[in-house]
């Protein structure tokens, strides 16, 4: 550990998931532990073998406890990950190999375990197919568990992080993200990771504040040291002083009061003060999130990101597993639409699932629907599962990254053909409702034509903004140019809404803009029919809308569409919302809009 001169140190990273958290640091055991290698005397060999066997037993018990604590359903990818780790620990052949090596080399168990697992992980990492390469993560995961048991450890494993603690790690593996449960870990700090990695997506969707890309975080932070994490600004304050804590407590108190007010609107339908109905749906990643979303007041599922079913390390789920996952989501919302997006991989999206060839420019590569059509076997298995889960008539199929009508037509043809086959096989299949994500400029320009062939649109603002403005927001040098208030983005949104409404179809928005201020106000002003946000934002979004008039937002949106520059839009927004004291603005590189319904 680095020796720090001052107790209070501020570390800068990237704000990956908003919110503040104060809690003791919990250091996640490092994957690259130094393992001592030493020879043991002949009479010590039996002891090393006993140590190894005990470590295996303890690791198994640890997984069983974790599995129970997380309460995962069998179709959950997380459960499959843990099941595969258990199988590795039960592998007799592997145990035999390790015991034989301990005997033959008269070496300590930890060194042999380390070498055996590392060799296997390394071999898997050299394979061409990404599916098999991804298995290396599981091997290392189990290795780490065993070594932690064999060596004693300085840090802990994710499943052991106490509620309210702030986890500090080099990086977080897919299996570790599962420990992000409500009322669990208070915040996350990682040295690695990107704004689009699975850690970021899950942290945001669970409302866990996170700061990523913090250099040397593990070397700087001491276990148990108090940390104040600010996910909005990307800051980590180690050993905060009284002033830091006082300000944090003020923020918390305000948030609590707001939460109390927000809870009152939870069960009401989303609408503006002057009565324009805007249903608020939820974005989810796992089937069991659907039930939680319903309890949070969601009026449907606006986006189920199915790539998390295909999470790295768990392999590809079969048709039956997928069907039961989609049915679970459909069941949670018998009266409203559940929108399920077909596998969206490529670009920056959750890697490590499928054999993705290296691309020079993945953002302009084999992504979304292009990938689905290129891998019809995988796509068809998913479509079959979606259609089999569609008997209630509320399942909508959402196609990602459509950039031309030809893709939509081909996907539709495959879907209809599959529906026909399923009916022949005797399954009850509803007429599929097929919509597309609007996230590529070509789809915006063609939105009027696409709307005539689609059943609904869903705007994916994150990608749309990136593609409209040619800005990779993960690139720190230009990230400040990523701004949903840019008039070019607003015009794209406007054209999309008009295209949809011209053909009589509904258009929702499921990107981050839908849950952010002032973005969501402009979306409503532009005429969006539905907003879909992370479950923890559903009630808050309803409360925000209940305090404003759609007529004002429409007027504001029209004015902004006439602006020439993003700076003008910001000024128009500040001026246009002046009559609403609940909105407070902070101008810096961009425009931050805070909402405090208690402002007199």
């Amino acid at each position: 550990m680095m020796v720090r001169k001052d107790k209070r140190v501020v570390l800068q990273g990237l704000g990956a998931s908003p919110g503040q958290a104060l809690g003791p640091a919990f250091l996640l055991v490092s994957r690259e532990v130094d393992v001592p290698v030493h020879r043991v005397p002949p009479e010590g060999v039996a002891g090393e073998i006993r140590l190894f066997r005990r470590a295996v037993r303890e690791a198994r018990r640890e997984i069983l406890v974790l599995r129970e604590r997380l309460g995962l359903v069998p179709e959950d990818p997380g459960d499959q990950i843990l099941a595969s780790h258990l199988m590795i620990l039960q592998d007799r052949e592997l145990a035999k190999e390790i015991v034989a090596a301990i005997k033959a080399e008269q070496s300590n168990a930890a060194a042999i375990v380390r070498r055996a697992f590392a060799a296997k992980a390394h071999y898997l990492e050299t394979l061409a197919s990404e599916v098999f390469r991804a298995r290396a993560a599981d091997v290392r995961d189990v290795q780490q568990r065993l070594l932690a048991r064999l060596l004693g450890r300085t840090g802990g494993l994710m499943g052991e992080a106490p509620a309210g603690s702030i986890v500090v790690a080099r990086e977080i593996t897919p299996s570790e993200t599962l420990a992000l449960t409500p009322g669990g870990v208070a915040g996350l700090v990682t040295e690695q990771g990107t704004l689009m990695s699975h850690v970021t997506i899950l942290a945001r969707s669970r409302g866990v504040p996170a700061v990523i890309g913090v250099d040397a975080a593990l070397a700087t932070v001491t276990a148990g040291e108090p940390l104040l994490l600010d996910g909005d600004r990307g800051l980590v304050v180690c050993s905060p002083n009284d002033e830091d804590v006082r300000r944090h407590e003020e923020t918390r108190a305000r948030e609590k009061r707001i939460a109390h007010r927000v809870a009152r609107v939870e069960g009401r339908p989303g609408a503006t003060r002057d009565g324009r109905r805007v249903p608020i749906a939820a974005n989810i990643e796992r089937p069991e999130d659907a039930e939680a979303a319903r309890r949070a007041g969601a009026e449907g599922i606006g986006l189920f990101r199915t790539e998390f079913l295909f999470l790295a390390g768990s392999g590809l789920p079969g048709e039956a597993a997928q069907t039961s996952a989609y049915e679970a989501v459909s069941r949670a919302f018998p009266e409203s639409a559940v929108t399920i997006r077909t596998l969206d991989v490529g670009g920056d999206k959750v890697g490590g699932l499928i054999a993705l060839p290296h691309e020079e420019n993945p953002f302009l590569g084999l992504r979304g629907i292009r990938f689905c059509l290129e891998h019809p076997e995988m796509f068809l298995a998913q479509v079959r599962a979606l259609l089999r889960a569609s008997a209630r008539g509320n399942v909508r199929i959402l196609l990602p990254m459509v950039s031309a009508a030809g893709e939509l037509r081909e996907a539709r043809r495959l879907i209809e053909q599959t529906a026909e086959t399923l009916r022949d096989e005797g399954h009850a299949v509803a007429k599929p409702s097929v919509g597309l994500m609007i996230e590529v400029p070509s789809a915006v320009w063609m939105s009027d034509a696409l709307a005539r062939e689609a059943d609904f649109f869903s705007i994916g603002s994150n990608d749309l903004i990136q593609y409209c403005l040619a800005v990779d927001r993960g690139n720190a040098q230009i990230a400040h140019l990523y701004d949903g208030l840019d008039p070019a983005v607003l015009r794209a949104l406007d054209q999309t809404v008009r295209g949809a409404h011209g053909a009589g179809i509904r258009v929702g928005s499921c990107g981050e803009m839908s849950g952010e201020l002032p973005g969501l106000l402009l979306l409503v002003g532009l005429g969006i029919d539905e907003l879909s946000v992370a479950p923890f934002l559903v009630a808050r979004t309803k409360a925000v809308l209940a305090g404003v008039d759609a007529a004002d937002l429409e007027r504001l949106a029209r004015r902004c569409l006439a602006a020439a520059a993003v700076e003008e839009v910001r000024r128009l927004v500040v001026a246009g919302l002046r009559q609403y004291p609940q909105f407070h603005f902070e101008e810096h590189d961009g425009l931050t809009c805070l909402w405090d319904p208690e402002t007199p």
Binding site: Q80, A83, S84, M87, I88, Q90, D91, R92, E93, L94, K120, Y123, L124, L127, S129, V131, F132, R135, D138, V139, G313, S314, G315, L316, P317, G318, E319, A320, A321, I354, A355, H375, E377, M378, A381
Partner: protein, 94 residues
């Protein structure tokens, strides 16, 4: 066929599911193999592994189109080899 006085049964099968024997199929294969008493080796001329070892089957990394040899030695050798062949041919129910 017998080898060293023990009965050996050998058959081949082509992996058909996409993208191959990845996580879930590997687990299913091992579970099925473990139901039998005999020793079962599976693999190619490059690498043969114990079909009851998840780590072994993972190392095999058998992709779609791979032709696998299944070699079972012991009491229920024929049933075991055919059961694994059937599972692989049925694309693990995917």
């Amino acid at each position: 066929m017998t080898r060293g006085g023990r009965r050996v049964y050998e058959t081949t099968v082509t992996v058909r599911n996409v993208p191959g024997i990845h996580a879930r199929p590997a687990a299913e294969l091992v579970k099925k193999a473990s139901l039998f008493k005999c020793q079962i080796q599976i693999g190619t001329d490059r690498l043969m592994v114990n079909a009851k070892s998840i780590m072994g089957v993972m190392m095999l990394a058998a992709e779609t189109g791979t032709v696998l040899v299944i070699r079972a030695t012991g009491p229920d050798e024929r049933a075991a080899a055919e059961a694994l062949k059937g599972l692989i041919e049925a694309r693990f129910g995917e």
